[in-house]
């Protein structure tokens, strides 16, 4: 295991930001810390980096107990959401910073900076100041700067959070490819489940200062440990007191299946090739389901039609903890 966090608790005043958190992150993988805003993701990452000290618990990095080490001694690369560039230094100087501090020979520094700038596609910008770069370029520079010192682990706190959707998507694919090339153990924070599912080998879901579940994207999606994970990883709806995905609801215009709930279509919304249908059951549940356009047309679904809904066979369901919202 590359990073071992065990029993870490962190409080700010009387607010508990991390509550007895334990996770192990394997070497060489790309792990996502996923969770809602304020859940404690950044705090956990900062505890790993030594930018925040845990009240209790231990942090081990590559077998070395780092709990009491200052950030300077942990050999982790950290990338911040808002780039944290050194404004007065050129791109090349920014990247060289960590190496200059380590008093490496000039020629070696120049060669390494060159190589890194090529890796992040910024070679032609080496003499610019960060203010002359776009957001995405700045973040790539910050990444090169963090990689320059050959960190044991690379920690990224919402690295693409401040960028627009398109650049964000490009950069996340690029990060994935970069990781496959460089293979440094990487942990990145995101509150975007799609980003986590697409990029990460493993996802740690954090909510309210606690780890809700750890697993591969498929595991989380197919076997969510609880209703929180289930609803955080994709759209859900409630039917008969269980949570399920809207596309896992079976609908028919005749009472075909035993136990199906009877109701009335209350709303039909077409979004591209799919149709989103709200059904108000006679028990007072508002069920959302997603159909293809063809399927909806075949069944003649429109507002006011009587229908029967039931979980499709093989549907993933999780008991709902919340009272069903009528």
């Amino acid at each position: 295991m590359s990073i071992d966090v065990s029993g870490v608790t962190k409080t700010f005043g009387d607010f508990v930001a991390l509550d007895d958190v334990s996770v192990s992150l394997p070497t060489g993988q790309l792990t996502a810390l996923l969770g809602p805003s304020g859940g404690g993701k950044s705090t956990l990452l900062r505890v790993i980096a030594g930018l925040e000290t845990a009240d209790t618990g231990r942090v081990t990095i590559e077998g070395v107990d780092a709990t009491r080490l200052p950030p300077q001694k942990r050999n982790v690369g950290f990338v911040f959401q808002h780039y944290a560039v050194f404004k007065h230094m050129t791109v090349a100087k920014n990247v060289a910073f960590g190496l200059e501090i380590r008093k490496r020979p000039k020629a070696e520094i120049a060669a390494r900076v060159d190589e890194l700038l090529r890796l992040v596609h910024l070679s032609q910008f080496s003499h610019r100041l960060p203010s002359q770069l776009s957001g995405g370029q700045r973040q790539r520079m910050a990444l090169a700067r963090a990689l320059a010192v050959e960190p044991k682990v690379l920690l990224l706190d919402e690295p693409f959070g401040a960028l627009d959707a398109k650049v964000r998507k490009e950069l996340r694919d690029w990060l994935r490819r970069l990781h496959d090339e460089v293979h440094v153990t990487t942990v990145f924070v995101t509150h975007d489940q799609e980003e986590a599912m697409e990029v990460a080998d493993e996802i740690v879901v954090i909510n309210d200062g606690r780890v809700e579940q750890v697993g591969t994207p498929d595991q989380l999606y197919d076997e969510p440990a609880n209703d929180f994970v289930m609803s955080f990883l994709g759209e859900v709806t409630t039917l008969g007191g269980v949570l399920l995905r809207p596309h896992d609801v079976h609908i028919s215009t005749t009472p075909q299946l035993a136990g199906a709930a009877e109701g009335t279509v209350s709303r039909v919304l077409r979004v591209g090739f799919e149709v989103r249908v709200n059904v108000l059951t006679d028990d007072g549940e508002d069920v959302l389901l997603v159909l293809t356009r063809t399927h909806a047309r075949q069944l003649g679904i429109e507002p006011g039609v009587r229908v029967w809904v039931t979980p499709a066979s093989g549907a993933l369901t999780v008991p709902s903890m919340k009272a069903a919202v009528g």
Partner: protein, 293 residues
């Protein structure tokens, strides 16, 4: 002053060209006239106002002083009493400015970064020496360090009196220019440096100070300019003794009182040149330091 402040915004003003299509041009190319109508009006108003307030009076002084050609300057400088006043004033102003650079930065740091009881009060009190009418400041200093000093420090009629008065009135300048910049510095930049292995001192030297130098230089320019022109706060305590504690402003006043306007103008022009020189030097140093990193 203006040139030192220009450094603060200088970096941001450079054109940020998109996606590097022409990365080589963007640095060098001098922007052509980019003035819009509104901006042109603004520039015009600025220049007229600046001319009325600053350029025309300055030109008048220089013209008055130059009526008798170079001989007037030479004569003024050759007067040993005047020369002594210049040396005292410039020397003490430089000394005070250097001390302010250190102390002002330290005070700003403490005010921004540390938490202690009474911080809010200190933050307000910093402005008092500046806000006080200078003659009141002079009275305060006289009461404390004059012949009847309650603390037994008798600095009246010495060079120290001049130093004290200058230090007193120029204290807030660097504090107040550095403080907002320090507040705006983002902590994640320092954290980034720390996780790259930089020690606390390295972070301050290579990350924090370069970001502060434009502000320090601007404050130093203000502080120096104020110091060489100070009058009210030091006349009472310094005693205005020729060759010992007489400063330039006092000397200029006595020239005028004696009807010697030409000498007064010549001395004023010399001080103008000194002020310009110091401001330019500060600006150059500032650019060097903030680019070095």
């Amino acid at each position: 002053m203006t040139s030192a402040l220009a450094g603060v915004t200088g970096a941001a003003a450079e054109p940020a060209s998109r996606e590097g299509r022409r990365p080589r041009r963007s640095r060098r190319a001098t922007p052509r006239n980019t003035l819009t109508k509104g901006a042109a009006l603004g520039l015009g108003v600025t220049m007229v106002w600046f001319s009325i307030l600053v350029l025309i009076p300055l030109a008048a002084i220089v013209a008055t002083a130059s009526e008798n050609g170079w001989s007037q300057y030479v004569a003024t400088l050759q007067n040993p009493q005047t020369w002594a006043a210049i040396k005292l004033t410039v020397g003490q102003a430089l000394l005070v400015t250097v001390i302010n650079i250190v102390m002002g930065t330290v005070i700003a740091w403490v005010l921004v970064r540390d938490r202690f009881p009474g911080k809010a009060i200190l933050d307000v009190i910093i402005d008092v020496p500046f806000a006080l009418p200078t003659i009141v400041a002079g009275l305060v200093l006289l009461a404390l360090y004059g012949p009847n000093s309650p603390i037994g420090v008798h600095w009246a009629n010495t060079e120290r009196a001049v130093f004290l008065a200058l230090a007193f009135v120029t204290l807030p300048f660097i504090v107040r220019t550095v403080q907002p910049v320090l507040e705006e510095l983002e902590s994640d930049v320092e954290e980034a440096a720390a996780s790259l292995g930089a020690s606390r001192t390295t972070i301050i030297r290579r990350i924090v100070l370069p970001s502060l130098t434009p502000a320090i230089a601007a404050g130093a320019a203000l502080s120096f300019a104020r110091a060489i022109s100070e009058y009210g706060s030091l006349v009472l305590l310094s005693g205005n003794l020729p060759f010992r504690t007489e400063v330039v402003s006092v000397r200029v006043l006595s020239f005028i009182e004696n009807g010697n306007t030409a000498s007064a103008a010549a001395l004023a022009t010399i001080m103008l040149a000194v002020a310009l020189l110091v401001i330019v030097v500060l600006d150059i140093v500032q650019r060097r330091v903030s680019r070095r990193g």
